[in-house]
Structures are given as C-alpha cells and as structure tokens.
Amino acid sequence: MSAEDVGIIGTGIYPFGRHPDVTGLQMAVAAARAALADAGVSWPEIDFAAGGSDAAGNADTSVAMLGLTGVPFVNVRNGCATGGSALTVAHAMLRAGSADLALVVGFDKHPPGAFNPEPEDWGLGRWYGETGLMLTTQFFAMKIQRYMSEHGISTATLAEVAAKAFRNGALNPNAWRRRSLTAQEILASKMVNHPLTQFMFCSPGEGATALVLARGARLRGSARPPVLLRSVALRTRSFGSFEVFSPSIALESGPSPTTVAAAAAFEAAGIGPADVDIAQVQDTESGAEVMHLAETGLCQHGEQEKLITSGATEIGGRLPVNTDGGCLANGEPIGASGLRQVHEVVLQLRGEAGERQVPGRPRVGFTHVYGAPGVSACAVLSR
C-alpha cells in the first residue's frame, strides 16, 4: 500500500425497495451509521463528506441527525451518476491530502412508475415532453433495437439477462425483487417499449448506500480488510454519441460517455478490463447490461450473446456481472444506485457476500453507472 492509496474501509446499506414510513434522509443516515460502524469510525472523525439524491433532499441535511461536527459536506446531484460523482469528489479530496477519512452517501425515494422529468430541466422545449418523447424507456428501447440489428443480439438474450438479475437478487437480502423469474415469464410479461418487456426494466425505487473512505495511516490501520479504490472517472457525452433525451443525433458516431469513462478509469488504475474478476454495470434494462459490457471494454461488441448464454456472467462464471441483482432486482433509487454497486464489490472482494459470494477469491472489481443526459462514472477496485 502506497502513501497515495485511497481505500474503502466501511460500507453500509439501507435495503432497497419501498419504505412508506421512512424518509430518504432517514435511510441515508441509517446507511451512514452502518458504514461508520463497519469501519469502526465515529462520525466526528470524518473530515470530509459528499453525497446526494435526485428526489429525496439535500444529503448534507443528514448532519442534523448524524451530529453537528462542522464537517465540510458537498451536496451532489448528478442524475444516475450522483453516487459516482460523490465518490469522485471524495477520492480527489483524499488523494490531494485534504482529508483523511471521508463519508460518501447516496439515497433516493421515487414514486412508482416511469420517471417524468421536466423538459426545461434538461434544456429542452416543453413540446418534447408534451408530445410524448421524454421517456428514458424509449431511449433504451431504441438503443438496444439498433444495437441488436448491428450486433446480432436476440430477444432471448435480453430475457436471460433479466433472469440472471432476479436469480442473483433472490440471494441478496437487501434486494427489492427477490423472486426468481424464468426467461419465459420475462418474455411473456407486458410489453413496455419494444423490444423490452416489463420485467426487462428496472423500476424507480427507494434505498440508500454509504461508504467510508480512508487514506494514509487511517487506511493502513483500518479495522476491516481495506478494498483499494484504484480509480474513479466521470465523463459527460462526446459529439456523436447516442444519448437519453436527444431530439436529434449526429450521423457521425462518437464514443459514449461509458466508453470514455471506462477507458479513463482503467488507464488511471493501471489495470485492464481483462483483469476484472467481478463487474457491476448499469442495467436500467436488460439491453443496457448487454451494451455496457462492450462499451466498458469488458467484452467485444457482438460477443455478449455467447458470453451470456454460456454462463460467463453468472456468479460462478468467468466474469460475474451484477451479482447483487443489479438495478433490475434492486430497483433504481437514482442517488443510491452507483454506491450500491461499489458496496457489492467491496463485499465480494472481502469474501463477505454470503450466498451470492463469487468463488475463487476475486481480486479486481469494476463498477459503471450511466444516466441522462449522457453521463457515466466508472471505478476500479482491488484488494
């Protein structure tokens, strides 16, 4: 371990699902306390904090419940990359030596049904929403529809991805959807946006995740086996990429924010995609997992069908993907999702993932989030 290393020494989660009597901030505080307890650190020792939610309030309000220590606390609101962005900020503060112990927290609480963003918040005219074009589900459907025609991915594979998610979710006590579904049940569920059916989509939900990060002596002396945060990279869209909420897209194709963020994360870590033992990628719907596997460099475009049907992405496979059930089984509380992925990698690298533990002592983990209007955050972790 070098002096510059940053690691995760504590992790905590508030179960994902529906909690009618609990506020988003209460979930955030519960997750933060769990992470602090896991790390063996007290709140007053934390000298930097960052976090956020999309729809459940300001993260720094949690100090009223955690304790008024005067800690510098940065609120982050960056769509699906909220957790990844908070992690980026904390990682940078620790690397700069501006803090020794940081808390990162993400949480959310969304009503049932698809998200209904306001066009004006995304730089679009009112007409875009009024005429029924402002739906994230449409984007994912049209992206995978095009991708399937270009790269030979079948609808059966989309169902297999969802079936895997629910199988993994059934093994995760903190997941929302804990019932296994067969590929047939998934294909037969209600059509939402062709070619994607109801059970191929995640649902907006509720939950919270928190992490304690450390550097220097606090990392070396940590009570728990530290997991090193080797890199974090956050990117917005480049010209020519196909993104959510785009009234038009260029003819010229450019790399997606996922592609650019993943490449940057791997380069900064000095670790390549081939070294990854376990990955969590954004699976807003089944197709997203398929496309993101290739965009992150974890496989080649068109290779997914073989990879998935051969079982390589299962918990016992060569490259286990979304071992906690992903967004499909956990739902999507926007602010919490990115940190849930990191939480899962930490448990897996520690060997504490219980029934869903990946065999063979995984050493390198990777996380990826993607969201509107074209933002991605990736992290590389190792033990």
């Binding site: 066009p119 005429t131 529809q145």
Partner: protein, 149 residues
C-alpha cells in the same frame, strides 16, 4: 393535415409552406454539422456561426420502439390517460444531415423495420383535438412514393 393554416405545438420547430411541412434545423458554417431543433452554437466544433436550415422531408428509419404505456402528465399533454393508444417513436436518418427523433404514424411493430423509407408529416399533437395544435411525425412511404424517388 398539410394545410398552411395549422397551429404548431410550438414556434420554431417546423414550418408549413405550399402544403409541405419542413423541420427547422440548423447548420454550422464552420464544420457543416447539422442539428435539430435549431441550435445557436455547434455541438461539434463550438462555433457560434450557425444558421437556420430546413431539413430534408424524406429519410430512412434508423431505430424505433412502440410507446406502450401512457407517459405521465406532466410533461405529457394527454388529458385522458384512459383513452391512451400506443404510438410509435423512432429516429429517422435524413441523408447527409442528421437523425431526427419523432413520433411515427405507425404503431404496429410488425410494420416497422430499420431502414424503411419514411416521410415527414403532421399529426394532431396529444390533446390536439382540444387545442387544435399539430406536431411533426414520420410516416412509412408507400410503394408508389418509393418508386417515384
């Protein structure tokens, strides 16, 4: 629906002249990049030398989906979710210009395929019958129209 006296859902999105609807996009004077709706700077080269350009009326379907559930209102402008009918949505590639996202007049997945020729048209905007407004959409071209090309 192609009369010159229609009420557009919003100004500056499309124009109707001589019975033909045209989308109002923009083009960068420096690098030629075309965008829709009209932009005032270039998303590719950052130039602000961008001017209005009326886009081609015909293109090919680049990708599509069917919106099978009623979007939430707001922002969707439907006043009766019970009367919801699924609608097609797609990106139509206008050759040499840009791919435009639009409602499609076709909502039968069996009648949509990537690469099929499409033409711009106008349809009643959601709640259009109440408001009388129209919006742009693309429709599959007939075989006769295709043979005219």
């Amino acid at each position: 629906m192609n009369g010159d006296s229609v009420t557009p859902i919003t100004e500056g999105l499309f124009t109707v002249a001589g019975g033909l609807v045209r989308l109002i996009g923009s083009q960068c004077a420096r690098c030629g990049t075309v965008a829709f709706p009209r932009q005032f700077s270039c998303p590719k080269c950052t130039s602000v030398e961008v001017s209005e350009r009326l886009l081609a009326r015909r293109g090919t379907l680049w990708s599509w989906t069917i919106q099978c559930f009623p979007p939430k209102s707001p922002p969707y402008a439907a006043d009766d979710p019970g009367a919801f009918e699924p609608y097609g949505v797609g990106y139509v590639e206008l050759p040499g210009e840009v791919r435009v996202e639009a409602r499609l007049t076709e909502a039968d997945p069996g009648r949509l395929r990537i690469g099929m020729p499409m033409e711009l048209t106008l349809v009643p905007a959601p709640s259009g019958e109440a408001r009388g407004a129209v919006t742009y959409a693309f429709r599959p071209m007939t075989e006769e129209e295709q043979s005219e090309r």
